[in-house]
């Protein structure tokens, strides 16, 4: 079965991105497909490569990036939510005249249409949020 996932709460402050990660791993292990995870609200902050959690803690971004690499899961960060919160890829940074970008490997920034499309194309949709 195809399962779409929404992460809508910020990492570390809220457990949602951890719960979502554990859920996606379990879904894939059970033979289901998670074609896309959509990050919205403060959930977009999962996708910054500049976070440096303590070494004895999990690294939420690194875990997601590894999952995307291993399973081809499309990690989409909502552009409108990302721009508000300072999440930029190279193109956006250039377009907005900013001096840096911060998006992590395996993530991409795109529009809310990707969320609706996920709802249309998957069999189930689960939201993890605050």
């Amino acid at each position: 079965m195809k399962i779409g996932v929404v992460v809508s709460a910020g990492p570390y402050t809220h457990e949602s991105s951890d719960t979502a990660y554990n859920f996606v791993k379990a879904a894939i292990a059970a033979g289901h497909e998670v074609p896309r995870v959509f990050f919205y609200h403060d959930g977009v902050n999962v996708g910054t490569r500049l976070s440096v959690p303590p070494q004895d803690d999990r690294n939420i971004q690194v875990n997601w990036s590894a999952l995307a690499k291993e399973h081809g899961t499309d990690l989409v960060i909502c552009i409108a939510a990302a721009q508000r919160r300072g999440l930029l890829d190279e193109n956006e940074a250039q377009r907005q005249g900013k001096d840096a970008d911060n998006i992590a490997e395996g993530f991409r920034i795109s529009g809310l249409g990707q969320l609706i499309e996920m709802g249309i194309q998957t069999d189930r949709l689960v939201t993890f949020g605050e």
Partner: protein, 136 residues
Amino acid sequence: MSETVKKFFYVNRKAPYGTIFAQEALEVVLIGAAFDQDVSLGFLDDGVYQLVKGQDTKDLGVKNFSPTFRALGDYDVTKLFVEKESLDERGLSADDLDEIMYEDEDDDWAEKPSIRIVSRAEMADIMADQDVVLSF
């Protein structure tokens, strides 16, 4: 845009301004309208506060997005279900809500209200009839 038409239900349970959820939920509704799906919005719990009339954010200095609800009809989003019990619990009635109308193209463009007050049991039935539930 798509051959599949699914029933999309947006669950609004948060008050406006204190958090961004109501505003960003509305942004999804607006984008989602372009996909020609069967869209309904549910307002329950604190979500009913989103539709209260007379919102004025000038002194707060943030965007007042409540007028956007009145534009939803132009996007063919015409089913705004508001839970009566949630209104009652908050000392509100239908009269406290913004008037949100749409023009019914199947009825000679007659103006009709988009807001439909439903009971809690009806809200549960509506939720149970959806393909995709987006929770805010």
